[in-house]
């Protein structure tokens, strides 16, 4: 579950508005943080990273049709603020490809943006303080970041009321559906399959960072904003 794959019409209007307000605040803050950066260098990097993330979403890995996301890689290569913006742009694009509804762009932008920012920040922290190799830092940064963002998504799904109907209807549903339908069980399933996904993404990003550390180590230092 790399982002909220919600089509239009499921999310309540108040959450749609909240998502866009939060995304707007996040984009404004990230833009302010990058105000002193060389715009001629930053614009192509943001665009390329967003395009890479979109392409990676088409790369299915493993048994359960997981697709890569690369949000943490965006944070590693562009820094927390740049990673946030790249993730927001990738989400905006993917909504126009019907990969998640237009009304979910705000919330997805916030969640994936925070994922990129937190991953980039944690990667930098591990590199500076724990002096771990770049690939190890990337793997270690990815797992807790994705665990946190999954928790945030579950919290949004619950708070937005997408499970209240299920709970009310539990008595009327077939038993197997009711078992699947309660929120704690749904959350347990998401964490179970999510944990496999976090590990896949972590090893994948570790592989990319290991390659870049050998081929172009300067790229891994460029994202310190």
């Amino acid at each position: 579950m790399s982002h909220l794959h919600l089509p239009d019409g499921l999310l309540p209007l108040s959450w749609v508005i909240l998502g866009f307000v939060l995304a707007g605040a996040g984009v404004a803050f990230a833009t302010w943080r990058l105000a002193g950066a060389d715009r001629g260098r930053l614009v192509p990097r943001l665009g390329i990273m967003a395009a890479l993330m979109l392409l990676a979403m088409n790369l299915e890995v493993g048994l359960f049709d997981y697709h890569a996301n690369l949000t943490v890689l965006a944070g590693v290569l562009l820094g927390p603020a740049g990673g946030f913006l790249a993730a927001f742009i990738a989400n905006l694009f993917s909504a126009f490809l019907a990969h998640g509804g237009l009304t979910v762009v705000g919330l997805n932008g916030v969640v994936n943006g925070l994922e990129a920012a937190a991953g980039g920040w944690l990667f930098g922290l591990l590199r500076r303080n724990a002096h771990l190799p770049a690939a190890t830092s990337a793997v270690v940064a990815t797992v807790p970041t994705l665990a946190l963002s999954t928790t945030l998504r579950l919290w949004i799904l619950r708070q937005a009321g997408l499970f209240s109907t299920l709970a009310a209807a539990e008595g009327m549903a077939p038993s197997w559906l009711a078992r699947l339908g309660t929120f704690p069980r749904f959350a347990a399933l998401v964490y179970l399959f999510g944990a496999i996904g976090w590990l896949i993404e972590a090893v994948l990003i570790g592989g990319i960072v290991a390659f870049l550390a050998k081929a172009r180590p300067a790229l891994l230092e460029a994202g310190r904003d």
Binding site: H5, P7, D8, L10, L13, V27, A28, R39, G40, L42, V43, P44, L46, G47, I48, M49, A50, A51, L54, L55, A56, L59, L63, A68, L70, L73, L77, L85, A86, I89, A90, L92, F93, F96, L97, A98, H99, G100, G101, L102, T103, L162, T165, L166, A169, M172, A173, P174, L177, G181, V203, L204, G206, G207, I208, A210, F211, L212, A215, L219
Partner: protein, 237 residues
């Protein structure tokens, strides 16, 4: 979704919808989405979907290709619909119809409007830095698409896609790493070009935001459709 095909249609096809402005089509899309969100009855949402299909036929759009390209959200909507199927079948149907109708509207926008025109309008709402990066992302996506397809072939030839081990994942990582490296080399080239041209922003938003006469039939059709949906919803309440 075959984005390259939709992009080809957007740039090369000449249908009545292609003559409308990007701003007009985005406003019509917003109106249809608002009507769809207002429709909390399955029949009302079906009115809108039927109207969209009829509109696409009248506007000489390749209905079969667009209809197929719009099926992507059905899987995720289906997960939610499934959990409601036993207790509230009409709600399950509403979820599916809303997802499909909104995707069809978005896919139609993509098939009739070049991306840069859409983002030139959206660029008015975004900070200059983000608007420029969005245009750059669009360009980069197609530049990298061919390389990405070649890398997928490489993965298959090295049989990495057949296995599911940490070693094969690291192999995936190395392949994606080489794509990342060549992508960042592209950014350096782009940087030098932008420096040479004295870039200080913005790339986007140069086109004026204006409507044109071909938007009128589009607004009439969208207004009629949204009105019929709202009427159906109020009548069924």
């Amino acid at each position: 979704m075959d984005l390259a095909y939709l992009d080809y249609l957007a740039v090369n096809a000449t249908t009545p919808l292609h003559r409308s402005t990007a701003l007009g089509k985005l406003l019509a899309l917003a109106g249809l989405l608002a009507a769809l969100l207002f429709a909390s009855h399955l029949a009302a949402a079906l009115v809108l979907l039927a109207g969209e299909v009829a509109g696409l036929v009248l506007a000489r759009q390749p209905l079969r290709r667009l209809a197929l390209a719009s099926t992507f959200p059905l899987f995720f909507a289906g997960l939610f619909a499934l959990t409601r199927l036993a207790s509230q079948p009409s709600l399950a149907g509403l979820v599916m119809v809303r997802a499909y109708a909104s995707a069809l509207a978005v896919v139609t926008l993509l098939a009739t409007t070049p991306f840069w025109e859409i983002f030139a309008v959206l660029g008015r709402l975004l900070p200059g830095l983000v608007a420029d990066a969005v245009l750059m992302a669009y360009r980069a996506f197609f530049l990298l698409l061919g390389r990405f397809s070649n890398l997928l072939v490489t993965l298959r030839l090295r049989r990495l896609s057949d296995r599911f081990t940490p070693g094969s994942l690291m192999g995936y990582g190395a392949v994606l790493g080489s794509l990342t490296l060549s992508a960042f080399d592209l950014t350096e080239r782009q940087y030098r070009i932008m420096r040479l041209r004295g870039y200080s922003g913005p790339l986007a938003g140069a086109a004026p935001l204006a409507l044109a006469p071909p938007d009128l039939p589009l607004f009439l059709a969208a207004g009629l459709l949204a009105g019929a949906t709202v009427w159906a919803q109020l009548a069924l309440r």
